[in-house]
């Protein structure tokens, strides 16, 4: 790897704690470029803010609850477009790149382009509370106030799926980046996972005793973090569906960074946890906003050591050393993308678009051999079973009957019949296993046919 990511490393682990390190002291040490990245933006008027980054981390979308929308280029901190929709904005989400983004507004979600022009109004989604975009499938997903989950293909405009969760209103939704399965957190402490081709959730987990407040998935897709009103944050192994770790804290929002740091916010506090091996998450950094600020959303910026925070009076971003992936693959995401590359990538992405059916819990399943419908028994097993059946058939006690019906000869005959009857199904099975055709259908040489029919008999080929 060309560059290595680093973390805050204390010289003496017992005396120095990384979470005591303040932003100011980090800021003193970092290079000039990085020192420009953290900022605080005080926007107290238009209410709590939510943010979203493009997948390459270059652009940030800001949505104020009271209708303030802005898009920024984070590389040179340029404001690209800022405007007011003058109605509630509940969530914002970038589509495949910064050219288009979706905004969940008062009644419907809308799609705007880079210049703030309204492109679509997605009325079918209803009053969406949360939006997510599945990049590889080009699906915009929303959960509305009736608990309905919608999948819409943004390249064709087709509504792919519309499912009722039946678990009440929720605004906790997150996409698993590994398999594009949508995770929803519900009131009764359940987390459900959905794909567009199944009416029922793939997995339903009871994660908390209170309602679920936040869900986040690791980049590898094997870890899930959930926060609930029962004052718990659980970290789950999604391969075994088991709790790996549990922490007694509240959290309003959770996010995994690309390198596996876990950030959660609680009131005006943001805490970042780091995996010390074996999913043992320890407090790594702590950041306290001004008292009275309520942090609404924490989101790590991809490919940068930055955590974006949307809170009740604006937004800020802080430095979190070691959070972002230091080596970007330009085939996947390029933060320094030129316009030409962007165009190329858009076309490629559309060509490589995956159909919605390919979303499944284990995407490695694709192209493997289909499992046989019912497991076939081996010949040996069949034989063993047959022997057992024969034994049991032999041991059947017959009733004593009168009038010569229970003569020894008759008894023997009946026993034989029983045995035969017990054997028959197994014989048939073994035949199937062998693949030998049924003998009845073959008109063999050994059967002497009448003269007139002999011409129809099969003859050995000359």
């Amino acid at each position: 790897m060309p560059t290595e990511g680093g973390f805050l490393e204390p010289e003496d682990e017992d005396l120095e704690k990384t979470y005591r390190v303040q932003q100011e002291s980090i800021l003193k040490e970092v290079d000039l470029l990085s020192s420009r990245k953290p900022f605080d933006m005080i926007l107290p008027v238009l209410g709590p803010y939510t943010i979203d980054y493009t997948s390459n981390g270059r652009y940030m979308l800001v949505g104020g609850r009271k209708g303030h929308l802005a898009m920024m280029d984070m590389l040179n901190l340029d404001l690209i477009k800022e405007f007011q929709v003058r109605e509630t904005v509940r969530d914002v989400a970038f589509l495949h790149n910064e050219q288009l983004y979706a905004v969940a507004q008062k009644k419907y979600p809308y799609i705007y382009n880079r210049h703030g022009t309204e492109i679509h109004c997605l009325k079918e989604h209803g009053k969406a509370l949360k939006l997510q975009f599945l990049t590889k499938q080009f699906l915009l997903t929303s959960i509305n106030s009736f608990g309905q989950l919608h999948y819409q293909d943004v390249s064709t405009g087709e509504m792919i799926a519309n499912y009722k969760t039946g678990l009440g209103r929720t605004d906790v939704m997150r996409v698993n980046p590994y398999n594009a399965v949508i995770g929803l957190g519900h009131e009764r402490g359940q987390v459900t996972m959905w794909k567009p081709t199944s009416v029922k959730p793939l997995v339903t987990m009871l994660c908390h005793n209170g309602s679920v407040t936040a869900v986040a998935f690791d980049r590898s897709g094997h870890l899930m973090a959930t926060a609930g009103l029962d004052k718990k944050i659980n970290i789950w192994d999604l391969r075994k569906y088991e709790v790996l770790n549990s922490y007694p804290t509240w959290a309003q929002s959770l996010d995994f960074s690309q390198k596996g740091l876990l950030a959660w916010s609680n009131g005006s506090e943001v805490e970042i946890y780091r995996d010390l091996g074996g999913h043992n998450y320890r407090l790594y950094m702590k950041h306290r906003m001004m008292k009275g600020y309520q942090v609404g959303k924490v989101l790590f910026r991809p490919y940068e050591d930055i955590l974006g925070i949307g809170h009740s009076t604006g937004l800020s971003s802080i430095l979190v050393p070691g959070s972002g992936e230091p080596n970007f693959d330009t085939f996947v995401d390029n933060p320094m993308e030129t316009t030409k590359q962007k165009r190329e990538k858009e076309v490629h992405a559309l060509l490589d678009k995956l159909p919605p059916d390919t979303i499944m819990l284990n995407p490695n399943l694709i192209a493997t051999v289909r499992a046989p419908k019912n497991k076939e028994k081996t010949k040996k097993e069949i034989e063993e079973e047959m022997e057992e059946a024969v034994e049991s058939a032999k041991n059947i006690e017959r009733k004593k009957k009168t009038k010569g019906r229970s003569k020894p000869s008759k008894r023997a005959k009946k026993k034989e019949e029983d045995v035969l009857r017990a054997k028959r199904p197994y014989l048939e099975q073994s035949k199937e296993v062998d693949g030998r055709p049924d003998k009845k259908q073959r008109i063999g040489e050994e059967v002497e046919l009448p003269k007139a029919l002999q011409r129809f008999a099969k003859k050995p080929q000359s």
């Binding site: 008027v45 009871l206 908390h208 569906y241």
Partner: protein
Amino acid sequence: MPKKPAMRRGKPDRGPDKKRRHGPRLPRAMRQALDAMGNGTSRGSDDEEVSDAGAEDLYEYEEGVPEEEARKNGRYDDVAKYEYEFDSDASGADDNVTSEEEEDENDDGEDEEKQIRILEETTGMPKEAFSAKKKKQPLELPSQPGDGPVTIHDLLDNIQGKPGYSKVRKRLQQQEKKTMVVAAPLPKVEREKLERAVTYKEANKELTKWERIVKPNREASTLFFENDVNLGVNTIAAIANKFEPRNRFEKRMNEITQSNEIMEAHRNDGAKILELNKIDVEDVRERQNRLAKMRSLLFRHEMKAKRVKKIKSRTYHRMLKKDKLKAASADFEADPEAAKDYAMKQELKRAEERMTLKHKNTSKWAKRILKRGLSVQDEGTRAAIAAQLQQNALLTRKMNSMKDDSSSEESSDDDEDENDSEAKILNRGKERILKVLEEDKEIPNSGVFSLPFMERAMKKQQEAAYEEARQAVEEYDDSLRKLEDDSTERNEDSIKVTGKRTFGPAKNLPKDVNKKQKLEESENSDGEYDSDPAQHFGNNEATTKKDVQLGTALLDDEQNGLHKSFDVIMKNPGPKTTFEVGMLASDSWKTVKSSKGNGNSSVSGITNKSKIQASTVVPNPKQRDNNPDSDSDSDEEMVEGFLTISDTKENYELPSQAELIRQAFAGDDVEAEFEKDKMEVLNEENPEPEKPALVPGWGQWTDIQQKKGLPSWMIKEHDVAKRNREEALKRRKDSKLKHVIISEHVDKKVEKYLARNLPFPFTSKDVYEQSIRMPIGPDFNPAISVSALNRPAIVKKPGVVIKPIQYEEVNPHQKPDEPKRVIQRAIPHPNAKKVSAKQSKGATSHKRK
């Protein structure tokens, strides 16, 4: 031959029998060949025929000579031939055969012989008989035409009395006695069957022959259809063959090498070449002498070098070095390349010197001497040390390097005395400090700084800074003076200039002087200057300056935090705003709280907290104007939105009683519900078997029946169903996970992405699944292997005509898989049989599979 003229003349006469005679005929074999070539040519060759065609334009059907008659390769068995002959004899209408024979007789003896051979073979009689018969036939035959067919007896009469006649007659008689039975032809069905069997065998042979060619093509992952691009001659031998001498030298060489003598000598075992290569005795002697001379010279030179190497005299070596240098310098003037080389070498040396500090009194010897004191040493040692230091100075002196990137100042200073530049730098540093001091004096007389305690603090700080700066200046002066002492009187004036600015003599030298400076001082005292002082002094200057600032900062810290924060803000303006606004915001927050306390606790009062806050924070009237605007737009919504926020966030601080209870008892409720849900899902996916029950009225006729209860088979069935269900539930993935429901529902849409059975070359499922794990996309593979991995089954350039497959012998022991299968070749194989296009198409379509 009486018939011949008649034939030639009277073609119309012989109208009824429609058979025409042509003039002198070619031998049969030739005619067949001509027929095969085409009708036109055969006609053109015949003069008479041309005239005939002009006379009457009739279509003539000329019967091809049957193969049996031609007796090509004895393929036809005797019986068939016999029948044929018999037939022709029996019909009797045709005496062509004989007439033809007569005609041919004149032309060539070959046909005669052939005829005889045929007869001999058929009848088994000796040759003489036929040759005799032939002679007689022309005499005999004309008398017979009207009578009827010629029988074998007629023929026999002619050879009566010849040797072997009796034998022939006997056999004939025997044959006549026996009635001739010709076997009835086989029924059509049988015949066809036989034919089919034979055809099948033949076809099979014909097709299996292709297998070796077609099979690898079928199995090949990719087929390339391309025409071989013939690049023409490319071997060295071929090029050499075409060589033509052009210039004189080549021609001369060619003359020699291609001369007859040499060529011949080559051919004759090369022995003669030696002869040609004769050398004079004198030549050889001369050469030997020359070699000996050279050798002796070499030896002498070697001896001399050895001797020179042994010389230990320093003076000698010094002289030698000087000479060398001189030579080198002369060289530099001559060519710049050498100069550059030398410069590079010098640079390297300099770098090495700077790294090792070899000549800077670091050696054991030098240390020892220094320890004892230089003054104690004798003249020679002192000189040596001085020389060493001189060398160091020389080596480490900043050079006018080849790169020319050093600043102009430095380069201009180069020729000046080093002391001078040093003094300059010192002066500059001093000036800067003074400037800083002056700047510090400016007191901001606004805002917080105008407060009395702030003023006091500022003064204190200033004093401290002033003190420090003075110390620094004094240090500078000190060092300057040192410089002055050591150096010559040349830079007196510069010292004077600095002297004017000094703050008097150094009373108390501060103890906390930088170690670096101390070092330098010591060096200065030694009279050796760092030849690169600019850096050091620059550093010094920076550190002192920083010290000043830090000092102030420290003071601030002690005094009050507020000032400090502002100072920090000055440095990094980013967080500054946070602090400011943060403070203000917290203030407003407090105000809000207080308002709450006032009892103004309506819902809107709480929820619109941030609004109030905003109004307090933002004094800008414009924004205020905006605020109510947005409110009016989405008033309802706002309230609702904030209510939700308060649900999740604010209620933590003060949850209602009901909420608390609900939360407290949430646990039990949720788990039970989930369990219920899970059962429902399980029942849906594996429904519980129905309880066994009889149709009302059935089996309830008698007491006994009722006592018996349900029939045993029903109970058994139920049990089995129950067990099955339990097993199914046990098999589920979530059977052991209490808190998880994993849907077992099989998605039919997914099934189309799965392989129905193992693809062809694989025999094991694991191997196949391992193989598809390797990504084939461009993201994971180099460009070359991507194209190889994703190559289509058939590669064909546009415009290439796909030719039918050609047969050729394939070596069965060849390696089975070649990397590339090229199907076509530009030049078809001469022996190759062409197969119809249809067949090849079939083959290619197979390949595609």
